[in-house]
Symmetry: C2
Subunit: 227 residues, 2 copies
DNA sequence: CTGCTATGTCTACAACCGTAGACCTGATGG
DNA sequence: CCATCAGGTCTACGGTTGTAGACATAGCAG
């Protein structure tokens, strides 16, 4: 364990006294820990250690573990590159991306993992709820449009979260060993059911009132994409 | 706090020394605690206290907290009354039941809640995975039938878990305030997509190879239905 | 009534947790 | 060169956790 100097997390540049960089290192370490073991499972000492810093400095910078978690949630749910305005492409890309990202244990930094492993704690759940509501909620609702857009949007989030849960957290056998293409196909069917829901008194299949808020579709990639 | 006598949990019968009844009381209390606050959140002392018993007796009976959790998982995922052999009825009933049970905070004893709030702990997640695999996994697979039955079955579990998560644990606004009937309708569409998936090279919509394992469909109701 | 055993309880320990206050230190402006 | 203050660390406290071993008692067999 040679993490005495701050900045041992990413770059061995051994910058000595840089508040912004230290804060960033703590935030990265916290996101990693919280996503891996959840809010309750991650200790302040562990987060601080992986950032090459003492535990007290974390509380100095963020006030408390809870506030630190709030910032991590905000960062993790920050707007990413959006799939696009086309709803068919949205469906296809969401399905294939979900099937791909839930496959290996390589990149454990997904906000859904953070949510799933931290939601047991009611305080953390409230923070997550606020984060979703602030960032992704209305955005996905706008992307979907149509009747019950908000409900369908959160159902989409539910579906994604459930797949993350069963495939990566609980590691249920069939989903774990599932062929990625097969899974993506079924996911596409499911998501399409939400994107273009069958009308109850159906006559034609795909006439759905188009919405006017496709302008805010593609947003910027987050600044943390440089990491 | 007047829980000195064992048996303070359910019946005030004040049975003095009954190993089976005490074990049952502990099991009930543990299921309640684990489901409410999760594996990590529930303490052995709390579980024991709500059963009117000391903490050490819990470990005396179950060996450890982990083994106690394993028994609770086994009981919580025990086979319940099954919806029936008819696949359309299965779809409709699953959707409406899910929409109804996730609505109020009345009965907090659902196995999905137990899973969601405990899955952060890897040991608990493994126990849950085993429990699902042993009880519900192959059962739902048999109910569905057709191509990729196992994957579709676990996708159904994923969907249910996701709805529980977003509606009751994270308490996302649109799903929380959603009209129960509206939610049930969208859920029915989603579940039907899994029960009767659209063929990829589609010509007719609902010709799906029927399977031969509809015999094991309806199983017994669990003995804990008396609780 | 006398023992014996199952049934429970009491005390305690070692390891964590989050966090508060006092203390140190190194780079920088004068 | 020296003072200053932001940037970091050290020590510690009260609390909780899971669990181990020694001890107590109720209820029944003889």
């Amino acid at each position: 364990m040679s993490h005495n100097a701050p900045g041992a997390g990413k770059s061995p540049g051994t910058r000595r006294r840089d508040a912004a960089a230290t804060r960033e290192a703590i935030l990265r370490s916290a996101q990693e820990s919280f996503t891996r073991v959840g809010y309750d499972g991650a200790g302040v000492r562990e987060v601080a250690g992986n950032a090459g810093v003492t535990a007290m400095l974390v509380n100095r910078y963020f006030g408390s573990k809870e506030q630190l978690f709030a910032e991590v949630v905000d960062r993790s749910f920050a707007p990413r590159t959006v799939v696009g305005t086309d709803r068919e492409a949205l469906t296809e890309q969401t399905a294939s991306t979900l099937a791909a990202r839930t496959a290996s244990d390589a990149d454990d930094l997904d906000p859904f993992l953070l949510m799933l492993r931290s939601a047991a704690n009611p305080r953390a759940a409230e923070i997550i709820r606020a984060g979703i509501e602030r960032h992704v909620g209305s955005h996905v609702t706008g992307l979907l449009g149509g009747a019950d857009a908000a409900v369908r949007a959160e159902l989409l989030l539910s579906l994604i979260a459930g797949v993350w849960l069963m495939r990566r957290v609980v590691a249920t056998p069939a989903l774990s060993e599932a062929d990625e293409e097969t899974l993506a196909r079924h996911l596409r069917d499911l998501i399409w059911t939400l994107v273009d829901p069958p009308t109850d008194s159906d006559e034609s299949t795909d006439l759905d009132p188009p919405t006017d808020l496709d302008a805010e579709a593609d947003v910027t990639a987050a600044d943390d994409a440089a990491g």
